[in-house]
Amino acid sequence: MIITKLALPRRTFLRGMGAAVALPFLDAMVPALSAESKGAPRFATVYIGNGANMSQWTPSAEGANFELSPTLSGIKDFRDRLSVFTGLDNFPGTDQGDVGGQHPRSAPGFMSAVHAKPTEGADLQAGTTIDQIIASKICTDTKLPSLETTVDRIDVVGACDHGYACAYMNCMSWKTPTTPLPSETNPRFIFERMFGVGSTVQERLTRAKEDRSLLDELTEEIADLRRSVGARDRAKLTEYFDAVRDVEQRIVKAESTNSDFSVPDQPVGVPGTFKEYVELLFDLQALAFQADITRVSTLMMARENTGRAYPEIGVPEAHHATSHHDNNPAKLAAYAKINAYHVQMLNYFLKKLDSIPDGNGTLLDRTAVVMGSGMSDGNVHNNYSVPVIVVGGKSLGFRGNRHVRYPKGTPLANLMLGMTDRYGVHIDKFGNSNAAIDLTTI
């Protein structure tokens, strides 16, 4: 869609910004926005690396009468829409004879239920991730196929494991088993992806037209070039070709569906604190859902192996070092604090989604939000009984108010398979799944 209305005057917006530039910058704009979608389903995934202190994460009782655990108490307001799953194994994340790679394998295992291939080369391989499988069903007519975001910089040197391409840890979403989707860190880039470039309708239209014709010529240029190079180079050019085609088609789609959705002012950059940063990325995702720019999003809230410290909550130690707690009580407490902090961040997103009307309910009713990690106890890189919760999605048939414990050896993939079903994706198998968890009856 081409955005045809300009939001509040810039000055109004700028005035509200202080040192904390990323304070919920979109809040002021929300009244100007009008809900667009016709009750379409949405899907959001939040990944946290390095596992969790499971003793503080897992509720003790099962069923509807479970008591919220200390870590999960940050989302107590959403308890009626919360399902906690215990006992699900990320078996694909285990080493299976490979050397190293505990961290790189965890996220692909969680998201795709496929064992990542140990390689630093171009032959990297995992599986198509849950979000992309769902996106291919529900985002066929949205401006963006999906939105991938992260708060961790990928240009930190030496942060990837030997023998494993950085993509395994940097990317949460894989479009195909061989195409990881880079996650975006810059809020402004995300904003421009969502709304296009330009500040007037005319500008946006002109730009879209120019871009489309440039892209059109470009496909020919690449196609020609592709015919005259070897196989390996051809694969690279094909990647460019496909990307160009993809963008071109999205522009065509945008041009054909006019909308009077107002464009809020763009964010100025990367906020200075973790909290503001995460909130801003959640704001953008909620906005993308609200404006129906896309229906699927991911946020890597903590990359595997991340060394981020959280002095603001009294954890000056690096996250990864904390996760290797050696059963030291102080470190275990710090580990749980980080987990609880991340859950509190999720609460912000849930509140946001729940405050936005959509159809005859709220956005949260139409969105299943999954949060979890590919590891349970980070101390020993354990991939069994990983932390995973699902919140929201009432109108998709998701039930809440549940803590379900599964027998030993139940693949996490069963949950993912059950999830795809709620989105109208009917597949028999997802990674190593051996049954589907029926989310409407649990």
């Binding site: 810039r10 700028l14 910004m17 040192a19 530039v21 285990t94 080493d95 050397v99 190293g100 790679g101 630093e120 080369g121 240009d155 930190v156 040197v157 030496g158 030997h162 391409a165 950085c166 993509a167 990881p180 880079p182 975006e184 860190t185 810059n186 880039f189 421009e192 470039v197 330009g198 500040s199 007037t200 120019e210 871009d211 440039l214 010529e217 020919e220 240029e221 070039l225 005259s228 190079v229 070897g230 196989a231 390996r232 690279k236 460019y240 990307a243 993809d246 963008v247 999205r250 100025v268 200075g272 060394g307 002095p311 000056p316 130690e317 690096a318 059963n327 030291n328 009580p329 020993v380």
Partner: protein, 837 residues
């Protein structure tokens, strides 16, 4: 078009003959035709080997010392040697190269197993090296680099060299993922729809700005001051004397016009409003290129303790913000925008070394007002006009058309741009496509609009964004061939400059003389002397030595409260200047380990406890022989980036040394490492050294940690930001003694430095490996090892000086050659002609 093609093919043939005709017979290389080859010549085979059965004696050594573990059954470390024929090592290059490496560095046989004496081991290593090198000469395998996309840094530099335009690339493109330690790795540089959109935006914006033709509403650009920057004094050379703190920004103004420049004071996060304002007036100045454009007195009665948060707070703050902004007419092009406070003796200086003045993370108190950010918006609507004499316009618009229908000038401009951007002579076909764009643009908005459109197209072309290399016709598949001079020009410039080749390189390549040894040598010397070779410091060293991470490292403000942004900048600058001195002064690469000088300013000297350095300019400081700061391991940048935010880690530092000095990165820890015994009582948690000892008592861990931890111990006197300490915060005295498995003992950084120096040969190998990985943009394989040895041999006579290493790399087989591939439709040349439109 036809003529150029023929020329290229002829050129390629010529190279083929010169560079390739002698291949296939190693004897002929015994009388080398160039100094480059002479230096690469391996030593003659050992005469001691049994002539009847070459290698019989060596086979016996391998059998005696290696078969116990490396047999077909056990295959320890994935290596089985029993079935291999040592008289023909070329058949199992990978396995034998492993043997050379492990035996040569003394890593094998493992401790407690029988070891051959040094002479025997050396003889075996020499035998294998000789045989493997000879095999590589007979059957060279230059490998096949993947198709490299320009990474973000290369893109920025290419724009600088193409258009004389300095872009803030981080605001245009996302960062790239690394592979094998470097972000120019072909396999890691993927391309997604999201990135394609960024390229579209970047191309549009850059071509507008280059020609000073901005369109649409101005986008505000905001620049933040780091929250932990100390504002006690003058911040940088780009600030006038008598000022404190602030921001200095090099900004490219997209056109002549009026710009709004706003500043914003730092606010207190706890909603206490603008920080540190009072009845006392503070003077804020804004200047462009040191010409003052705003002076504002901030503060006054309405900022008294009672009033500042009173009912008029919003009004007061609004008034202050009004005072802090200015609209000014600026000429297009790059200017320095400065904003700062006037220094006053009356202000309370904040003392970062006094923990009592810090009350919460990153927020010094009792201080003075600061800036939070500065924002530039413009040109404001209706005020823009094209600036006629910016550097980038002069660079691009090399002529002007004589009439509206005259295309000669457009052709000249576009072909010059395209030649530089595509890094090859432009074909008629390529020109035709670009001219179509030009005409479409010119029709809409005249000559310059046409140029802008053509430029925008150039910047999106795969020929600009990818480093395509051509293959001469009629080369059989899987045969090595010398890359063309045109491709060689790009290989050189992306290696040394991280950018596109300049006209000199392109001209030499077009003449077909670039590959000549003497021409190459001169060019490399010239390129290293060019300031653009700073790319080797920022990109190569920045990644190899992990200095890039200094920028994002966040030391814990609770334990390391005296860390600030000023120190961060100083640590980076020291490393940059130090590595640059190795290049600029053409020093032996081993000087990195123990050079007796460094570069300091007052902030850093204070941090290091070195007296006599006053002022914020960096200068070279000679260190005493026993200084703990000599060489890489005394540099705060490395000591900090190998620490956790709040404490040191002997493991990370030890691993860093193993990886970057010894070139023997430890294997990843085994899965499901057993946890150490649980200790519930925090008072009984062991001190670090004892904890590590318990760790090493576990045989699963001991193999690697006995090396890593010990190396790390020697640096324990440096805290997590590289400051010297004798005791830990817990009150325990630092014990910096360590011992390596080979028995060498050391205590503290000075003695460790001597140990490293004894391993300088391994360090040279590591440096050469990292340089070659970076130069090729791919991970190294066993087939590259002979080239590495040739690089080392070739530069040994020159004491491994930086330039000689580079000179050897650029004539090495993997750098100058390429393995041919099967072409999809046997087109000899990149097909440059587009489909007719």
């Amino acid at each position: 078009m036809r003529r150029r093609l023929t020329f290229l093919i002829a050129g390629a043939y010529a190279i083929f003959v010169v560079g390739y005709g002698v291949r296939g017979k190693a004897q002929q290389l015994a009388a080398p035709s160039s100094p480059a080859l002479a230096a690469s010549q391996p030593a003659a085979p050992q005469s001691s080997a049994d002539p009847a059965s070459p290698g019989a004696a060596q086979q016996a050594v391998v059998k005696r010392y290696c078969y116990t573990c490396h047999n077909d059954k056990l295959k320890s470390g994935g290596l089985a040697l029993t079935a291999l024929d040592i008289s023909a090592p070329a058949k199992n290059i990978e396995s034998w190269e492993k043997v050379v490496r492990k035996l040569g560095t003394g890593a094998m046989p493992p401790a407690k197993m029988p070891r051959p004496d040094k002479a025997t081991a050396d003889s075996l290593v020499r035998y294998l090296e000789t045989a493997l090198d000879r095999a590589a000469l007979d059957n060279p395998n230059p490998g096949r680099p993947g198709l490299q996309r320009l990474n973000r840094t290369e893109y920025k530099n290419a724009i600088r060299d193409l258009l004389s335009l300095d872009i803030d690339v981080a605001s245009l493109l996302p960062a790239d993922t690394a592979g094998y330690g470097f972000d120019n790795n072909a396999d890691a540089l993927t391309l997604s729809p999201a990135l394609t959109e960024r390229y579209l935006n970047a191309a549009a914006k850059i071509s507008q700005v280059a020609l000073e033709r901005p369109r649409g509403m101005p986008t505000p650009e905001t620049f933040f001051e780091p929250t932990d920057r100390s504002e006690a004094g003058r911040f940088s050379d780009e600030m006038p004397f008598g000022t404190r703190g602030g921001l200095a920004i090099h900004y490219v103004f997209p056109a002549d016009g009026d710009y709004l420049i706003e500043t914003h004071p730092k606010e207190n996060g706890a909603n206490d409003g603008f920080e540190n304002f009072s009845t006392e007036i503070h003077q804020l100045d804004i200047a462009i290129d040191s010409v003052n454009i705003l002076s504002a007195g901030l503060g006054g009665p309405e900022w008294s303790g009672r009033n500042r948060l009173g009912p008029k707070r919003i009004e007061n703050e609004q008034k202050m913000l009004e005072k802090m902004k200015v609209v000014v007419h600026v000429k297009g092009g790059e200017h320095l925008v400065q904003a700062y406070f006037a220094a006053k003796t009356a202000t309370v200086p904040e003392d970062l070394f006094d923990p009592s003045v810090r009350r919460e993370p990153y927020r010094p108190v009792g201080g003075v007002p600061k800036l939070s950010w500065l924002r530039i918006t413009g040109p404001l609507s209706g005020t823009a006009s094209i600036s006629t004499d910016t550097e980038s316009r002069r660079r691009v618009l090399i002529c002007s058309p004589s009439s509206a229908t005259d295309e000669t000038c457009a052709k000249r401009i576009i072909s010059t741009l395209a030649r530089r951007a595509y890094r090859h002579p432009v074909s008629d076909g390529e020109m035709e496509v670009l001219l179509l764009r030009y005409r479409a643009g010119a029709k809409e908005g005249g000559f310059e609009s046409g140029i802008e459109m053509a430029l925008r197209k150039v910047l999106l072309s795969p020929k600009f964004l990818f480093r395509l290399e051509s293959q001469p016709p009629n080369v059989a598949a899987n045969t090595p061939y010398r890359v063309s001079d045109i491709d060689l020009a790009s290989r050189l410039s992306f290696f040394i400059w991280s950018s596109i080749p300049d006209d000199t390189l392109l001209d030499l390549a077009a003449k077909g003389t670039l590959h000549q040894p003497e021409v190459m040598r001169q060019q490399v010397t010239r390129m290293l002397a060019d300031p653009k070779s700073q790319a080797l410091v920022d990109n190569f060293a920045g990644q190899w030595l992990q200095v890039r991470n200094v920028q994002t490292h966040q030391p814990s403000p609770e334990t390391l409260f005296h860390f600030d942004d000023n120190l961060r900048k100083a640590l980076e600058e020291e490393m940059r200047l130090f590595f640059a001195s190795i290049i600029r002064e053409n020093r032996p690469i081993t000087d990195l380990l123990d050079a007796n000088y460094t570069f300091l300013n007052e902030r850093l000297a204070k941090h290091y406890g070195i007296p006599g350095v006053i002022g914020q300019d960096f200068r070279r400081v000679t260190l005493p022989e026993d200084s703990v700061r000599g060489g890489l391991l005394g540099k705060g940048a490395i000591l900090m980036s190998t620490s956790y935010p709040n404490r040191t880690s002997v493991v990370i530092r030890g691993k860093w040394i193993l990886e970057n000095v010894f070139g023997t990165p430890p294997p990843p820890p085994p899965p499901n490492v057993p946890a150490l015994a649980e200790e519930k009582d925090p008072r009984k948690v062991l001190p670090m050294r004892e904890q590590m000892a318990a760790h090493r008592a576990n045989p699963v861990c001991a193999g690697c940690h006995s090396q890593m931890d010990q190396l790390g111990f020697a640096l324990e006197n440096f805290d997590a930001i590289g400051e010297w300490r004798e005791i830990y915060p817990s009150g325990i005295r630092v014990d910096a003694s360590g011992q390596l498995p080979d028995g060498s003992k050391f205590n503290g950084p000075v003695e460790l430095r001597k140990v490293l120096r004894e391993h300088s040969d391994q360090f040279v190998t590591t440096a050469a490996e990292k340089l070659l990985t970076y130069a090729l943009g791919r991970g190294l394989e066993a087939c590259d090892t002979p080239a590495l040895r040739a690089i080392k041999r070739g530069s040994a006579g020159d004491n491994y000086r930086f330039e000689s290493l580079i000179q050897r790399i650029v004539v090495s087989v993997p750098f100058t050659e390429r393995m041919s591939v099967e072409m999809s439709n046997h087109l000899a040349q990149l097909k440059l002609e587009p489909k007719g439109r």
